[in-house]
Symmetry: C2
Subunit: 246 residues, 2 copies
């Protein structure tokens, strides 16, 4: 087990054995959800050659705010928490990345930190190789740009939640949003996986861990949800939706 951020960072750099050559992009289960979807099979082979596969244990750092951006990533399994720390020390989770999502959109320096919530696998593309590939394939840039626009849109969505508002509403809207995101990957289901900690939910919504816990428990008592290991189950979706609008 890796214990310091420094060791964890080195794992991602490829210094550890868990980084392997990338193979079989064509069989990749999240390809259709990812920026790679716009590449044809020929381009995919060339793209594949520039990347490597990385497996990380839970709670390890992928990259940190302010670091030189040496690579961009594509999440293939697991769950990633993206956050920033403000001058006064408050941690703001600005998003969660799940399989198919793109990390570290090409800027000189990472402007957020990313770490794994659970065991996670990623495709890692060194930045120079990625930039060179993009120059040759402008439609990939268009796709990356689309992905950035989606990220911006989600950021705006989150702002609506972050501001003032009842904890009930925030949590309900958050649960429904997570449900929709999982549905895109795994199909509709009443079960919502929540691989992150209560603290992360709080830092995402601008609530304390105590309020998150109380609110979930209240919803559970009211038979709106059932709290299960690593997630919740929706019992009364209509009521949850009504809550999220109030």
């Amino acid at each position: 087990m890796l214990n310091t951020f420094h060791e964890q960072a080195r794992a991602v750099e490829g210094g550890f054995a868990r980084a392997q050559k990338l193979q079989n992009c064509r069989q990749c289960t999240v390809r259709t959800e990812s920026v790679c979807a716009v590449l044809n099979s020929c381009e995919l082979v060339a793209f594949e050659a520039t990347g490597q596969k990385v497996s990380l244990p839970p709670r390890s750092s992928i990259f940190m705010e302010g670091e030189q951006a040496t690579a961009i990533f594509n999440v293939t399994s697991g769950f990633v928490r993206i956050h920033r720390v403000s001058a006064n020390g408050r941690c703001q989770v600005v998003g969660f990345a799940m399989p198919g999502d793109f990390l570290g959109l090409p800027a000189q320096h990472y402007n957020v930190s990313a770490d794994t919530a659970v065991a996670t696998t990623l495709c890692r593309f060194p930045r120079p190789a990625f930039l060179a590939f993009v120059r040759e394939h402008p439609h990939l840039l268009a796709s990356v740009h689309d992905s950035a626009m989606h990220a911006l849109h989600r950021a705006h969505d989150q702002m609506l939640l972050l501001g003032p508002g009842l904890a009930n509403v925030k949590i309900a809207a958050f649960l429904l949003a997570m449900n929709r995101r999982w549905a895109r990957l795994r199909g509709d289901s009443d079960l919502i996986a929540l691989p992150m900690r209560r603290q992360d939910i709080g830092d995402y919504l601008g609530l304390t861990i105590a309020t998150v816990s109380r609110t979930l428990q209240r919803m559970s008592r009211q038979q709106v949800i059932r709290i299960v290991r690593q997630g919740v189950q929706i019992l009364d979706r209509e009521r949850l939706e009504r809550l999220s609008l109030t």
Copy 2:
């Protein structure tokens, strides 16, 4: 004076006389701050041909969330408020655009609303023409993408402010951020123009108008700032910076 959103929208579409042919991009005062900066003078002439100049009175709509995106804009003077309205009716200001900023980054539909805070002039580029031009000039796409990444970064900055935190801190950080943005355009100054209403500042920071007003008045009483018409003057920058970190 245009009174309804509908009339205002038509003004921007070019139905009114205030839309004119675009000229003199080379003399444009904000060109170096804008995405156009990457175009050489030859490209600039071609680009210029696709756009038109639009002048709008204060408090008029540029585009609205959900509308078909028919054009993209570049602010050349004035001040623009960008916002979204949540399901429960709360208005969240997600950003302000000032001269040099790009509006309506190319997506199928606008996903935010934009309206002018004061009299504003914009370059308007019809979407099809813009997309065609970008296809011919991939480095402009790169520039637009950079601009989007900046917008994403600013969105993350704002999230840090939006969450929990004392009104003092939010307002101080907001004032300093506005000061920095104006400094890029007009050079360093103690005067901070605030062309938006108190309500907009509140909707931006997740505070009510009452709190915004009280907080500014308190800072004024404490000789940290002086409240002037359409803005504030920094009297004690060091103290303001200390406040913003607390």
